[in-house]
């Protein structure tokens, strides 16, 4: 088992009232799964994804990732954990505008202190795999949305994470580009990468092996 959420609660206090963002969420994810989280706006999809990605905390409950108890880990340890095992893909790609495609791909490796030659090999491999070798020296602004998202995914994958978290990865793309991205996810999943995506679209959700529906922070 890759991760397990047990009775997760998350809330904010607003005007003396407690508003629940997540309410008693229980979830087990095994390696190799492809999960789609669905639900209306404000149902807590992204919050759940951020909690899984350890970018956001929670107020109650237990979270086990591999053999670690995330809820009892220190901030630093926690961030080491997600750096090691999780890759993020965002709706608006979030590439660094001042870096080229190649340099954007290289960045996670720099933070992991890979040597120069190893970085080069990995970047070249990734460029090759995603068929964007010709674009390696372009800046994000010179790419189409679909291509940018491709780079975003490549960047998420470059340090071999066990889990990819994608927050509406096709939200800013047209339907054709979206389809290509979903096909890619499918392919990655087949190769063994675990994927959790948040989506509004039934069609995209269908790519997954399991669908989780959220309503007002509760799994239904």
């Amino acid at each position: 088992m890759l991760l397990q959420l047990k009775n997760i609660f998350k809330w904010v206090n607003s005007g003396g009232q407690r508003i629940f963002l997540l309410k008693d969420v229980n979830l087990e994810v095994s390696e190799g799964e492809f999960i789609s989280i669905m639900g209306p706006s404000g149902s807590g999809k992204s919050t759940l994804l951020n909690v899984i990605g350890m970018l956001d905390g929670f107020d109650e409950g237990e979270y086990h990732f591999l053999d670690e108890s995330v809820h009892s880990l220190k901030e630093k340890h926690r961030s080491n954990l997600y750096k090691e095992y999780i890759g993020f893909v965002f709706q608006s790609y979030h590439l660094l505008d001042d870096l080229t495609v190649k340099e954007n791909l290289e960045m996670p490796l720099l933070y992991k202190k890979y040597g120069s030659s190893e970085r080069k090999a990995k970047v070249a491999d990734m460029l090759d795999r995603f068929n964007i070798v010709g674009k390696k020296d372009l800046f994000p602004a010179q790419l189409s949305g679909g291509q940018q998202q491709l780079v975003g995914i490549a960047r998420a994958l470059i340090s071999n994470p066990k889990l990819i978290l994608a927050d509406e990865p096709t939200g800013n793309l047209n339907s054709k580009q979206g389809e290509e991205i979903m096909e890619l996810f499918k392919k990655l999943n087949d190769e063994g990468v675990t994927i959790i995506q948040v989506t509004h679209s039934e069609k995209n959700a269908a790519y997954g092996s399991r669908i989780i529906n959220l309503l007002d922070g509760r799994m239904v």
Binding site: L55, D56, F90, H94, L96, D98, E103, M107, P108
Partner: protein, 806 residues
Amino acid sequence: MFKNYLKIAVRSISKNKTYSFINIGGLALGLTVAMLIGLWIHDEKTFNTNFKNHDHIAQVLVNKTNNGEIRTRFTLPYPLAAELRSVYAGDFKYVVMSSFPGDNVLSFKEKNQNQYGAYMEKDALRLFSFTMLKGNHNALNDPNAIVLSASAANALFGNEEPIGKTMRLNDNFVVTVKGVFEDLPTNANVFEPLAAFSESKKLDFIAPWDLYVSMYEWVKTARDRKLWDNNSYQVYVAVSNQSTIEAVSHKIKNTLYDHVPDETKRSNPEIFLHPMKDWHLKSSFKNGLSYGGAIQYVRMFGIIGVFVLLLACINFMNLSTARSQKRAKEVGIRKTVGSNKNQLIEQFLFESLLVTCCAFAIACTLVVLLLPLFNQLADKQILFPYANPLFWCIGLGLISVTSLLAGSYPALYLSSFRPVRVLKGTIQAGKSAVSFRKVLVVVQFIVSIILVSGTMVVNQQIQHSKNRPIGYNKNGLIMIEKTTEAFEGKYNVLREAFKKSGAVAEMAESSNPMTEVWNSNGGYDWEGKNPDFITNIVNFYVSHDYGKTVGWEVKFGRNFSRDLASDSTAYILNEAAVEYMGLQDPVDKTIRWYDGEHKVIGVVKNMLTESPFEPVKQAIYSINYNETNWINLKLSPEKSITQSLEKIETEFAIFAPSIPFEFQFVDNAFGHKFKAEERMRKLSGIFSVLAIFISCLGLFGLSTFMAERRTKEIGIRKVLGASIMSLFKMLSRDFVLLVLFSGLIAIPVAYYVMQQWLENYTYHISIPWWVFGVAILSVMFIALFTISYQAARAAIVNPVKSLRTQ
């Protein structure tokens, strides 16, 4: 990793050209100012430190109390030096008596040159430890020797060997060159500003004391008769290695008092030692105590330099954080792909360091380029200290401190962003960031307003003093110093010749130049004088035509007349003297001095001959053709100045063929009195402009930030129907309030500081209130102009666009 940082930094710098230009340019400007001021302060602070023994060298000064007022003087009687030497032999290494420095004519073959120097006792070279290029420290032992500076030797002899050459001094005395000393650095002088009457010139020669004694009868008299109450000499000392100047100073204080005649004892003369390190920086005395001098300017500009640098750093911070919105996204991304907080801090500090290094490099270039101009302005000869390791150490320190100061806030602030929140766009730089920035801007404007109003006050003070009535007519008036005997007894012939040439309307001679006072005397008595009142009155020995030449204004009585023989003992007083003596109806009153009785024949309006910032001193004018040192010429208004000067030079050459023709326009000499103040005005003017400029950069950053922050608000307001004008007003109002608030704090500070400065001058303005109004309004106007760009841009933008990006 650093390569990656470097890449990002360089790209973001080159991508945002305006922003980078403002940021780097602003910092470079601040650093330039700080460096220039730093170099200047270093130059001032190291004044005279070139003398090896400088912490043991001092000049003997004397405090005298007359009618309750203590005055500090540097003129001492002849026997004092010998007395100090014999009685306190163990405390002094050297005691050297010196004449007052002045221009003397040095002639070799056909060359005649005016060179500045003094006559000193033989230990002078050892006392000051001059670096001898030729000859040695014994060179002054021979009474017919002369020691020249390297540049004077070069000017006289060119490439010829100077040692052993005989030359003429003041056309009358034959001297032999026995030594050549290395030119003194520009920030060194063996004469205090106090002793070097006008502006200090470079020392060109030293001649032996014995020669001085043989040159002048009155010096010989003073020596032979051991005159303790004739004060015409200065004394320099080097205290022995075991003693300190303070200790010796205390020990010797009564030496003069013990020897002077009883009459002089009443003024309680107390001598003390003025250390060499204070000659330049602390040369002014009030009530017998050193109270300032150049040190005041050193402090003032030091503070300004720190402030300007601070302003530039504040800006750097301000502008860096203003763009935090943009950088926040980068922080978020970097954090999610694996950066930790320390790495981000590292990155931002590295960027800050990079920008600071760029700014430092630009600043160094600017300093090199601006130094000639700055030297001219500050009257210095400062060189860029390429080879000085201390400079580079300080530079390195400055870079680290500046980059830390400027980079720490953005680094710590940005790196603490939580990635989810920035990436979701929910983060808004909080209220604290805005108020922090407001504080920064207020500080900048306080400094700007202080500088602007300060500059205006200095300007007012100079104008006020320049417009002061001077009591004579300086137009077309020139003065020539009689450096030799060549003119003695030829007054009438010379006057006739000059007048006949048509170039000169009138000529007269006087003991004092028009712009200085050289002698004053005590011991006057008149009817109704309080017997306890100790008198001290300035003396002008003049020729008959003096009044007509300088154009003084006779208030009562009449001018000197050649037709009345009795006028040779008559006195003319100035208004200040009448008031000083408390005379009613002064004309025809009698004043007694040790040489007899003198009738007052006239009163003239006060002539401004000393500081334009001090009241005119009581003065007596009397006829004496033997004591005159200066020829005053009123140029004929019918000829052009160049024509007149040519004619005068021709006549001059006939009478004194071996004397170089050198003259001063009284107008110019008078203008020199404002030199320090003019310099202060120029420098503070420049610094004000720079401070305002740098502050405006900061304001620009703040307005950019505010406009960005309020994009959504502006969009909503527009959708709801706000006009562009009303939005513009809304955005500008805050800044106007900030400037007004700064003014509120700046006014009392500026008022206090400027009042302190004005206290240095007896004759000063009271600070007019409109100065502050003008300062605030002009700063406000410039501020409004600066923000209008951002405000207008934010107000004009299409709300659909601004709301969509939220």
